[in-house]
Symmetry: C2
Subunit: 364 residues, 2 copies
Amino acid sequence: MNWRPQMERALALAALGAGTTSPNPMVGALVLDQDGQLVGEGYHCRAGEPHAEVMALAQAAGRARGGTLVVTLEPCCHQGRTPPCCDAVLAAGVARVVVAMADPDPRVAGGGIARLRAAGLEVVVGVAELEAARLNQAFVHRVRSGRPWGLLKWAMSLDGRTALPNDESQWISGPLARQWVHRLRGRCDAVIVGGGTLRADDPLLTSRGARTPEPLRVVLSCSLDLPVAAQIFQSEGVAATLVAHGPEASRAAQERLDRLGIERLQLPQCTPLGLLEGLAGRGCNQVLWECGPTLAAAAVRQGCVQQVAAVIAPTLLGGEPARTPLGRLDLTRISEAPRLISQGWHPLGPDLLWLHALGPASDP
Amino acid sequence: MNWRPQMERALALAALGAGTTSPNPMVGALVLDQDGQLVGEGYHCRAGEPHAEVMALAQAAGRARGGTLVVTLEPCCHQGRTPPCCDAVLAAGVARVVVAMADPDPRVAGGGIARLRAAGLEVVVGVAELEAARLNQAFVHRVRSGRPWGLLKWAMSLDGRTALPNDESQWISGPLARQWVHRLRGRCDAVIVGGGTLRADDPLLTSRGARTPEPLRVVLSCSLDLPVAAQIFQSEGVAATLVAHGPEASRAAQERLDRLGIERLQLPQCTPLGLLEGLAGRGCNQVLWECGPTLAAAAVRQGCVQQVAAVIAPTLLGGEPARTPLGRLDLTRISEAPRLISQGWHPLGPDLLWLHALGPASDP
C-alpha cells in the first residue's frame, strides 16, 4: 500500500505548527477507519498542548478502532509534559501505524515503534522520510548536536557592503525584503545580535506579529557595554529580551542590568557556541543570527551556522578596503548610491550571475 | 502593413555581426520583391566590408526592383570606407524602405531617410525601434557621448569578497562562469585592467577565440610600473595590447616600454574618462572593465560604467574590514572556503534573495 498521499497531508498538517512547537518538533497525524476513510486529523501546535496523534485520535473517537494512524514522527513512549502517545494509540485500538521517521530524541529513538510492534500493531516506517526530516531539520539538529539550528541572514549591496564607510546601513534592502525578514523571524525561536549591532542600529528585532509569542531577542555581549535606552530594552511588553555574557563581564555591569530588570544569562564562555548551548537549554530549536561581521564570522567558524540567507540589493556602496569589488564612491547616504536595474539572473554552474544596468542615483 | 516579423528577422541577421562591426553598428537587412517574396538577405560583418543593405540588394539582384528593403538602421548617405548605401538603394529601384531606427551618427542623422523620400520612395521608420536601439546600445552610446559603452564585471563570494585577505583570488567562480567571461570578452572591443590587477593576477585577458581578432587588451597605468614579463606582454601574437598612461609617467618608464615594442597611448589625463575618449578614437564601441576596486570605483564615479555583471559565487571568504557581511574566517586558500549549497533564489521587490545551506569546506 502506498501511504505517501496520506503522509503528505500529515506533513502539511505538521507545518501548521511552524515557529511555535519548540522545543518539540512539528508533528502532523491523521486517522483512517478500517475502511480507509479519513476520520481524524491533528497537529502539534505548542509545547504542553496535545500531541498530533492524540488530537487526531480524539477527533476519530470510536472510528479509529481497527483503522490506521498516519503520523509524521514516531509516537513518543515517555511521560513528558503530556502522557506518552503510545498509550493513546494502543487505547484507541488502531491496527496499523504508518510513521515517516523515527524520533531522534534519545528518550524515544525507536522505543515507541518497538512498543507498538510488541503490542501486535503493524508499524510501517520511512514513508516520505526525507520530507519529514527536512521539515524538522532544526529539531533533529538540536537533538543530535545539543545546539539549535543556526540561520545567518544579512542584506548587502551588489558590491558586498552592509553599510557605508560612515556606518549608515538603513535601508540597503527594500520593503519586501524587510517584510520577508519579519516572517523569517517568525519561524525562529530566538534572534541574536551582538552589542555592536545594538549600539549601531538599535533594532527592534521582532517578527511584527508573525509569531506569538515573539521570538526571544538575544544580545551576546562580552563587555556588557550596552545602551539601556535601546529599543529592545524599552519594549519588554512586545517581546522578551535576554542578555548573554561570559564570566569576564564586570560585576558592576551585571548589576546595572539586574537593576533595570533585564534578564541575563551567564555563559561559561562568551562565544557563539556557548550561547547556542544556553539557548538549547531554553528550548530553542532554531535561531537567527542578525549580527555584525565579527560575531557572524565567529558563529561560522564555530559551526553555529547551518544556513545563510543573503539578500543582495541592486545598489553599489563602495568603500576603501581594497579587495571588495569597489573602492571609494564618495557616498555619504544610502539614497545617493547608484541604482542598478536588474537585467535578469542566470545560474552559471554553481554561481549566480546577476546582470544590471546602472541607472542614475535616486537623490541627485 | 505590419513589418515587425520581417524586421525581427533583419535584427537577427544584424546580431550575427556582434563583436566585430566596431566602430560601425550591427545592421541587418532583407529585400522583398514586389510580390512580397524574400529575395535577399545581408548583415554587416566587419568595418570596411559591405554594409547590410548592399549585401541584401546584391543577393536580390534584379528582383529588388519595385520591392521593399527592410533594414535595422537608416541607410547611410555619406562616403565612408564604402560608398553611401542610399546610392545602392536608389540604383536597385526598390519602391519602399522600412527602417527600424534613424542613425544617430551625425553624418547621417536622418539625412539618408530624407534623401530616399526626396527620390520618391516610401520610407517607413520606427518598426521595432526599441529592439534595434537595444541591439546597438553600445554604438548609440558611443556616437552620442563620444565614449564607448562600459561594462564592469567582477566575480565575488556571497559575502562580497573578490580575494582573500592574503590576495588569493583564483578561482572564486567556477568554470562555467569563466567560460561566460570569455564569451563576454568576445562581444567587447577592449578589455581594461589597471596596473594593480596586472601585477596581482597576471591575466591573459583574451576571449579564448570567441572573437577574431581578439579584443584589444588595455592597461591603464599612471605609474607605468608594470611587470614586462606579464602574460599580456608575452602574447602579442594572440592579441594586441595597449598601455595607456597620463603625462605624469616618467620618460624612462615610457622608453622602457617603447624598447620592448609595447604600444603606448598617452592620455591628456590618466583617468577612466580620458582612456575611454582615447579608445573611442580607436573605434571601440564597447569595453569591458575587468579591473580592481580602485579603478572600478573611479570608472563608476566618472560615468564610464553603463552595465554591471556580478558573478556571485556560493562561498564565503571573510576578512577584517568590519562592514562587509563577514569578519575573519582564518582562511589562507580559496579551496578552504565553506561551500554553500544553493537553495534557490527569489526576487524580493528589487532585491534578490539567495538562500544557501552551508556545506563542509571542499579541502578539509
